[in-house]
Symmetry: D2
Subunit: 139 residues, 4 copies
């Protein structure tokens, strides 16, 4: 059941606010974790250490349908597609395990930047990984 | 220079990540603070305590142009307009003080929910405040 | 290798600050997660929902030896002992997996409070769990 | 009323958890902000940029007496004294404005580290500032 497209998250005390549900910014933390698992942490560290290149979010669109609560086991689903030489798009969602609808959905547009925060082309290994790990690629 | 449409934020250590700039989810924290100042914290507390009603974000669209850094003094600008009996829309942006372009811009759509997280009409005092504090209202 | 005394944590982007290592407050988040796993999330939720009782930290003493970095796989170790009818003490530490010394160590003293934040006795199920899950209990 | 020993903080939604009070790790964020204001953000940035030197917390001892709530206006009090060539100690506390007792008190021991996280002597400008900004210095 381990897949680069799935990341499991537990909702902790710290993630909620006094209204009882997860604070809205925290889903962006969960989605970042899902993307890190999709691309691979060792690979992201190597890219950053050796070339100074990292991802930066350019645009995020988030739809909130239902709030998760303390102790919920969430599944973060991540699908990525290239958009141009300079941009990739991630479709991500947060599901309660066993749920029939996502609690939160997002479209995250990302670019790559160097250590001076200047735009660079998306590296080849990223595009290759996107192609390999996209379910449509095999259909 | 104090205005309900302006909220000042300092970028702290905790707000940055190892890439050197503010972690992308934190702008949603700054924008929430800007909205709390717009509506008024005592008023929000009273609404929640007396009626169980609070705001919930329904949709957020965020454009990231440039990353803020440790120690930056930011200005959060907040303009709100009603959209229907059930929804209000906030145009928000984060500016470096003295900057000529926003670092980050967002459109945040909000609804009101009761203590069971069920949708309720936007209360009258909120609509009144929105009308009073919208610059266009006076032009 | 699953044990109520061990909790695994990945260091994410959000956990670091621009100095490159984990922001110092975040170890308190990791330690809270370790305690939640020790006591059990369903049990903590049931206690809170049915009796309004929850844990509150009364005193924390933290020793920082070395900073964890993005992508590090950490092991949070949690050992708990009762101190009185009103207080339990948690010895916790954060280790890099395979490390020979803890990166951070803490002693966390906790009490139980009701929904008005008033001190109450530590419930019996908590003391029972502490006795069961303390390695010394079996020696 | 502005003083390097006083820093004002508002408790936001994000700072609370579902128990209704501020999540315990967040006081370490407030105390860090208080220290940054004590030493001066431009000075801390210059030290880091020009010499790679920054502060690192070595030991923290925190006493929690009462939880702050959403909307509370807190006053963070910071007093610093040198302990040796390599260590300074900060006595810090969080007060509700107008309160008669601190909500939370902490003793934070700090060292200076260079960009390889190696211990270095506390720079002279820091010791000078500590001497100037310690009320006892003038008595």
């Amino acid at each position: 059941m381990t897949s680069p497209n799935l990341h499991h998250v537990t909702v902790w005390y710290e993630d909620t606010d006094f209204s009882g549900v997860v604070y809205y910014a925290n889903y962006l933390r969960y989605f970042e974790q899902g993307r890190d698992m999709f691309f691979g942490i060792p690979e992201l560290k190597e890219m950053y250490t050796q070339t100074g290149i990292g991802f930066a979010v350019y645009k995020a669109e988030i739809h909130y349908r239902e709030g998760a609560r303390f102790g919920d086991a969430l599944e973060i689903r991540t699908y990525v597609k290239p958009e141009s030489d300079y941009r990739i798009v991630c479709d991500q969602s947060a599901w309660r395990v066993g749920g029939t609808q996502p609690l939160v959905k997002a479209t995250i547009q990302m670019v790559c930047v160097n250590s001076e925060q200047k735009l660079v082309q998306v590296p080849d290994w990223v595009l290759k990984r996107v192609a390999e790990r996209s379910p449509e690629a095999n259909s």
